[in-house]
Symmetry: C2
């Protein structure tokens, strides 16, 4: 893989003004963005993106799920393109950087290459994946998952939002017409720049996270059933309080995740008492559980320890506890060669960096199943994301875009044998 270094740098001010310009599509009064996938606001930013790509000389295609592919031809068009990008959709009260930075930094890289008159060996491909967020349609990252064959395109097209509008209908309302089948676009490598969405880089004063892979994820739905009874007349020893069962489950998850630290995390994000009343002992609680770790074996160990603990809690408190696995995503290791390339690039640019694992899921985690892939993280303020208060500095965005530029250049100009046999 090439180690040639360029003095080329992106135009940080232009990147920032582009970020702020597109933040107007779906802007919220609190300074965030409400741009659900395939909404009218998403339609406007897609039109803007197509126009900006075409103005930069890129050839824009669209697949059956609306994902936009913008190609900058290379010297050797027999080579598979080196791809970058992310997503332009947001959470309903989302921020200005999640996904958007990676997409617009890719555009900035192209603009920088154009201004420098640089032609790469392999083509560069800039991608705007449809529905990374999953707020309007489940699952999240549906388009990149369909791209690599995890889901059938017809299945995803039939998914409906809360109002019963299918993905196919939503695409039709925006007059999005496919120019290629989903999955048809061949990709040689994929590098995605993203904000960390966590607090580690900021806390350690690092500018760059060299992402080694995506964590494995287990999602569970759980129920706890005890017995509803009168809060005033039921002695403490006779109670079968489902909320106290939940309390023990929550603390057990914390204890077990801690024990498998520092990477393992476990979270009860939802917990709802059935028919709650101030003077009734809760008889039913349902909850969700999210467990993550970079190693599959650790996920298995955590689940095993947790099930043992739940059995003990249920027996001691005369409760029935169920825990149903509703989703398992295996850990996704990124390509070691590209990870090392990102690391060397950060070093060469003099950017403080550390290796890390992505706690969140990204389109890159799907791509990694089929294509050599890596990610670059930059800090976000206080680790806040999926929130209108999401914030990142222009300096960090610029540093991330510069490293993306270097990485794409190295990959696109690498000797043919390095990535493609």
């Amino acid at each position: 893989m090439g180690t040639a270094r360029h003095n080329l740098r992106v135009d940080g001010a232009r990147l920032w003004s582009t970020l702020m310009e597109t933040a107007e599509f779906g802007a919220t009064p609190a300074g965030g963005i409400n741009r659900l996938t395939l909404s009218p606001e998403d339609g406007r930013v897609r039109d803007w993106f197509r126009a900006a790509c075409e103005a930069a000389g890129l050839i824009v295609g669209t697949d059956e799920l609306g994902t936009q592919f913008a190609l900058r031809p290379g010297r050797d068009m027999t080579r598979l393109p080196i791809a970058t990008g992310s997503h332009l959709d947001t959470q309903p009260t989302g921020g200005r950087f999640d996904g958007i930075l990676g997409t617009l930094a890719g555009l900035e890289v192209v603009r920088t290459l154009n201004e420098a008159g640089l032609e790469t060996e392999a083509p560069i491909l800039l991608v705007n994946w449809t529905n990374e967020e999953g707020s309007r349609y489940a699952p999240a990252t549906m388009a990149s998952a369909a791209h690599v064959g995890t889901f059938a395109t017809a299945d995803i097209l039939s998914r409906t939002d809360a109002d019963g509008v299918s993905v196919a209908e939503a695409l039709g309302r925006l007059d999005i017409v496919a120019t290629e089948p989903t999955g048809a676009r061949a990709i040689g490598a994929f590098v995605e720049l993203h904000i960390e969405q966590g607090p580690i880089l900021e806390a350690e004063e690092k500018t760059i996270g060299v992402v080694e892979g995506g964590q494995g994820i287990l999602w569970f739905d759980g129920t706890i059933t005890g017995f509803e009874s009168h809060a005033g007349t039921t002695p403490m020893p006779r109670r079968r309080d489902a909320l106290l069962g939940l309390a023990e489950v929550a603390l057990a998850v914390e204890r077990i995740a801690h024990a498998h630290g520092p990477s393992a995390v476990g979270t009860l994000g939802e917990a709802v008492i059935g028919a709650p009343s101030r003077n009734v002992i809760p008889g039913r609680v349902r909850f969700t559980l999210d467990i993550r770790d970079p190693r599959a074996a650790t996920l298995d160990a955590i689940e095993g320890e947790l099930r043992t603990t739940l059995t003990e809690i249920a027996a001691r408190r005369s409760l029935a506890i169920t825990l149903e696995l509703v989703w398992r995503q295996e850990p996704v290791p990124f390509d070691p060669g590209i990870v090392a390339l990102v690391e060397r690039g950060a070093e060469a640019l003099g950017l403080p960096h550390r290796r890390m694992v992505s706690g969140a899921s990204h389109d890159a985690c799907n791509l990694a199943l089929r294509v050599p892939t890596a990610m670059i993280f930059v800090p976000c303020k206080d680790g806040i994301s999926h929130n209108e208060a999401e914030s990142a500095t222009s300096a960090d965005c610029t540093a991330g875009a510069d490293l993306l530029l270097q990485t794409l250049l190295s990959l696109a100009n690498a000797p043919r044998a390095t990535l493609q046999g």
Copy 2:
């Protein structure tokens, strides 16, 4: 106080058939009753009750809040009446015994006295208190509370239900016309028969609970504020998880109530996560807390220990925890003389009995503030109440009514000096 015993017994079969007959007013398919206070169904049972009382020779009056007073004259009409009764309203999915047993057992006592041709010294007064349940209008036991002066009648009349209908409007819709001011009806003593609504009598195979008083109650509203963050990207040690704070609070309440046992109880009945999401660490939780004990000093001690523990939890987990007292009901001791009378009566009738404190609030708890008062409990199946599955045996209902009969006879025939100077 009189200790004269009568061989007189109620007609258990008639009591049971009366219970089943009135259970048709608001009957639910699951075998319970939906008879919210001042609803059309409540109107029908009130009309039935008035007619049944008048058929038994009672003189029926109604106060400004709709409470029905049915008087059986005594030999000495200068003596204050000995009152009994309860309520005929139910929870929206209530049972066939809560309140209803005490009201209809009073009617059965009157019928039994009539058949025996027995005249008592003091009059007997049978009461059907409006809105004991508090399901449609807050507070619960509003009419008996207004009767003893805890609330102004005009205040209670202006209370509205979820549809904005005031108590005054609801009374008007049922054509209920007051024949006396609230609080005007003088009462010499009050004895209320009720199902236990708890599991103790059944578990100990006792037929009668000799109720020494009502517990004191503290109601709190609480909040826990941490920080919402991404479940996948926030390391365990950096979390400020409000749900884990709640878990510790719930277990602390259990531990502290246990330590003040066996009478003390503490319950978190409601707990709601703000903006819950499967992959977001809960940042805000609000909850309710219900603490009860027969002794005011214990309530104070529990609150003190709990606040100390909450401060420790908040500091250790970097959470903000608030706990606001929204209601305090002082413990209500019943009249020792009447309690002893009930106990001796149970003994004389050969009924297994134990002294206990009422965990729930009742109209008797309000009456006890101004009038010598006691209660008689009988078992209910599995301690279940406020539920369509609420159940009691005919034998236990009959035993309770027999004891009520003996107690009322003793009080109404007691030498004048015993209760009234």
